[in-house]
């Protein structure tokens, strides 16, 4: 069932992306001030959103693991962090490309850029720590604790860096601004792009969860063989 959902969402994402790429490049005009480069927004912002949602869903699964000790939740949390990290990196890389063309620089210590980078570093630490623990129960327990600390910290990071410095463009979507900042046709493409990236993330998380479960099974068999020998 899980494989069918993974394949189904990957196929749906591929279809949506193909349609969206056609709309982006063949139907939508260039933006008045930014020219063609504004299209990077259709990948940049959904990647950030999917990444951030992923960390907080991972937090939920970490809490569920601690209350139930069910390894499925640990696998889901680890997979979600891994996939979210990939999308956070996509977000930073696409943002840098946009910034190079519009601002003339690859990077600036603006609050959202800094927060995104801090977020990546926190969850990169989570993955490094997982690698350093061999025993599955200890790995799941400590990873869940780190995920809770990490997610709580991310909220404080965003708030504090927002007060510290701000250069990033403001929100443009209707649900944040009340309307009038982005053409409805562009918002539709943005919405479909978000959906496509969400489906890709779902598919990747399901595949990684399965791999995590298999890796744990192989590890326990290896331990059993070692004890028997």
């Amino acid at each position: 069932m899980r494989e069918k959902v993974a394949i189904g969402s990957a196929v749906a994402a591929a279809g949506l992306l193909t349609y969206n790429l056609y709309r982006m490049f063949m139907v939508l005009p260039d933006e008045a001030l930014q020219g063609a480069i504004y299209r990077i927004l259709f990948f940049h912002a959904p990647a950030a959103l999917v990444g951030m949602v992923g960390y907080f869903v991972a937090l939920t699964f970490s809490i569920l693991y601690l209350s139930s000790k069910n390894f499925l939740y640990d696998s889901l949390a680890a997979s979600l962090v891994e996939v979210s990290l990939v999308f956070s990196v996509v977000n930073i890389v696409t943002g840098s490309i946009w910034a190079r063309i519009i601002w003339g620089i690859w990077w600036t210590w603006d609050y959202r850029l800094t927060s995104a980078l801090v977020c990546i570093l926190i969850f990169f630490g989570y993955l490094i720590m997982r690698r350093a623990i061999d025993e599955p129960t200890q790995r799941a327990r400590l990873s869940a604790a780190l995920c809770i600390f990490g997610c709580v910290d991310v909220v404080i990071v965003y708030k504090s860096i927002e007060w510290f410095r701000n250069q990033h463009p403001g929100p443009v979507l209707d649900f944040r601004t009340g309307g009038g900042h982005m053409d409805p046709a562009m918002q539709t493409v943005f919405g479909l792009s978000f959906l496509a990236i969400l489906l890709i993330a779902l598919s990747l998380v399901l595949i990684r969860t399965r791999q995590e479960a298999l890796a744990r099974e192989i590890d326990s068999l290896r331990r059993l063989a070692h004890t028997a020998a």
Partner: protein, 222 residues
């Protein structure tokens, strides 16, 4: 109050061996010296970056203290003995945090003294506000350092793991503390917006102390 017993035990051991204090104190002084080669330590420059420089020194030196906190209990299975004693895991983490806090305060005092001499800075212009800021921020660093000292105590590459994990987590606390330290070192008045930084430090301390107590069993016992 059992946490205080743990802190007292740790401080007694530390005063006898002075291993963390000597290492962290010497490390802080070395870093302060090295920074003088990285930039021209003129009066204007030092007023701009003094706070940042000091707090980087403290967190770097703190990592040495935090690594020793729980690792010291590994030989002779002392950690297991502590865990089967009537102490709770929260007592143990809070006790370690209190002793780490006091050790870090000593390292900070040594560093401030050296900083004042090396960089010709009169750091005691507003001593009470600075002291309050240092105590609040040091508690935040100590509680997080102690939690991750406990979390990584049985891991491979433990010494590497603590800084990699805690430095990104400490960023909000460091931003707020550095901002306020710079203001206090240059004797500038605190405006209403500067109190946002105080709020961040207090929230950080409260949230992470609460999380440390809540998750102590998960981290140490399982």
């Amino acid at each position: 109050m059992r946490a205080l017993l743990v802190a007292r035990k740790d401080l007694a051991v530390e005063l006898r061996t002075k291993e963390s204090l000597n290492a962290a104190g010497a490390f802080a002084v070395v870093i302060l010296l090295l920074f003088s080669f990285a930039f021209d330590p003129g009066p204007e420059m030092i007023h701009e970056i003094g706070g940042g420089l000091l707090w980087l020194v403290f967190v770097f030196a703190g990592a040495l203290v935090f690594n020793r906190g729980f690792a010291r209990e590994l030989p002779n299975d002392c950690l297991d003995t502590l865990l089967v004693s009537p102490l709770s895991a929260a007592d143990l983490i809070l006790g370690k945090a209190i002793s780490n806090f006091l050790l870090l305060v000593v390292v900070e005092l040594i560093s401030l003294f050296v900083f004042g001499i090396f960089y010709s800075v009169r750091w005691a212009v507003r001593p009470w506000e600075l002291a309050l800021l240092f105590l609040l921020a040091t508690w935040g660093i100590s509680i997080l350092g102690s939690v991750f000292g406990a979390l990584t105590v049985n891991l491979r590459l433990r010494e590497l793991m603590v800084p990699v994990i805690i430095y990104p987590l400490l960023i909000p606390l460091l931003i707020a503390t550095i901002e306020l330290t710079n203001l206090l070192l240059t004797n500038q008045p605190l405006t209403a917006s500067d109190f946002l930084w105080v709020k961040i430090i207090v929230v950080f301390d409260l949230v992470f102390t609460a999380l440390a107590v809540l998750l102590a069993d998960t981290i140490l016992v399982g």
